[in-house]
Subunit: 207 residues, 2 copies
């Protein structure tokens, strides 16, 4: 493994490679190539080889990649050989959809707590988890040692909530609120605001 940290954009492609490799493994395929992966993902095979080579030597010229081995290696690189506890903040439509999504636990992300400010939501059960009041959030996140949070509050409160989460030890935020969060360098944010994603695409459509 090289010492230099690979660019973030390359890190971001590893989960995409992993997803494609898992799909091939589900079909009982044992070996693949950068060409086959590239065809499935719309990425050039040269790019895939270059990306993977930044983390190690995972395939042999001409024989391709052993899928189960490459899956194991990427999971190791991404720190996925463990479970990760996650908190959801906001029990509105988005928070509820997240709490009910089965894909998280399948991939080792376990929802441990849900918070909201609405007294009508506090105490309700969503997918087996009791919604707690947001006043308890910092204390509860710290107590459970939760490092990952999914932020599904209105934009108006998102920064304040993020500050409290970070103070309590959260180091990675999946942000559904339509606002750019200001966070310290050591905290990672991925934003999933659907409006900005739609606006990105309308550029390419005929007006």
């Amino acid at each position: 493994m090289t010492q230099k940290t690979p660019p973030d954009i390359v890190i971001g492609r590893l989960p995409i490679y992993l997803r494609a490799l898992n799909a091939l493994a589900d079909q009982k395929q044992e070996v693949t190539s950068s060409y086959e992966l590239g065809e499935r993902l719309g990425i050039s095979s040269a790019q895939i080889r270059k990306d993977l080579s930044q983390f190690g030597d995972f395939g042999k010229q001409g024989t391709g990649y052993h899928i189960s081995y490459l899956i194991e290696q990427i999971r190791h690189i991404l720190h996925l050989n463990r479970k990760w506890d996650v908190a959801i903040i906001g029990a509105g439509h988005v928070g509820q959809a997240l709490a009910n999504y089965g894909g998280f636990v399948d991939h080792g992300f376990v929802i441990r707590a849900i918070f909201d400010v609405d007294p009508r939501k506090v105490g309700q059960q969503i997918n087996g988890i009791t919604v707690q009041h947001q006043d308890k959030m910092g204390e509860e996140v710290r107590r459970q040692g939760i490092k990952l949070a999914m932020l599904a509050t209105p934009a108006s409160s998102a920064q304040e909530v993020a500050d409290t989460l970070i103070e309590a030890g959260v180091r990675a935020i999946l942000n559904y609120a339509p606002i750019t969060l200001a966070v310290p360098d050591e905290v990672k944010v991925q934003s999933l605001d659907p409006v900005t994603k739609l606006q990105h695409m309308t550029y390419y459509l005929e007006p």
Copy 2:
């Protein structure tokens, strides 16, 4: 305006700039600078000036940007000076959260149709829209001239649904299904799979 198409990564930052400018305008601010925008967004002021300069000359050295003018220009560039009709495919938790999200119509994205294969969901109303059977999707999308779709089906059917949508005229897909869609060059896809976004961030966390 220059003739060369700016890189996609730059296009993708325009909606982020627009969101920040709208927030400033909401606070009745009239003028801003690349420095102020950069501070809010965690992007260097030089990057912001370089990005915007690819689309035109929107500010004067030393006097900054007039916010309302820059908003108008970015909206024009992104083709946002019109309403866009959108279809949602999949009326599960994610599809319902999307259908109930008020942020779309505020930004000119109007949900016109929701489709699902589940007979128990077909005929139900979600936020005033009647869920239709997915068998009607191609015909209905074509009839309404819908170019944008939000795909919230299981991964197993997402590619087939995308193919039908594209055949019916859809040119931009917001993809919530955990699969990389294969689409023709003229069709844009933005993927919002939360699992891959979480996996991107766990790379940076202590294992």
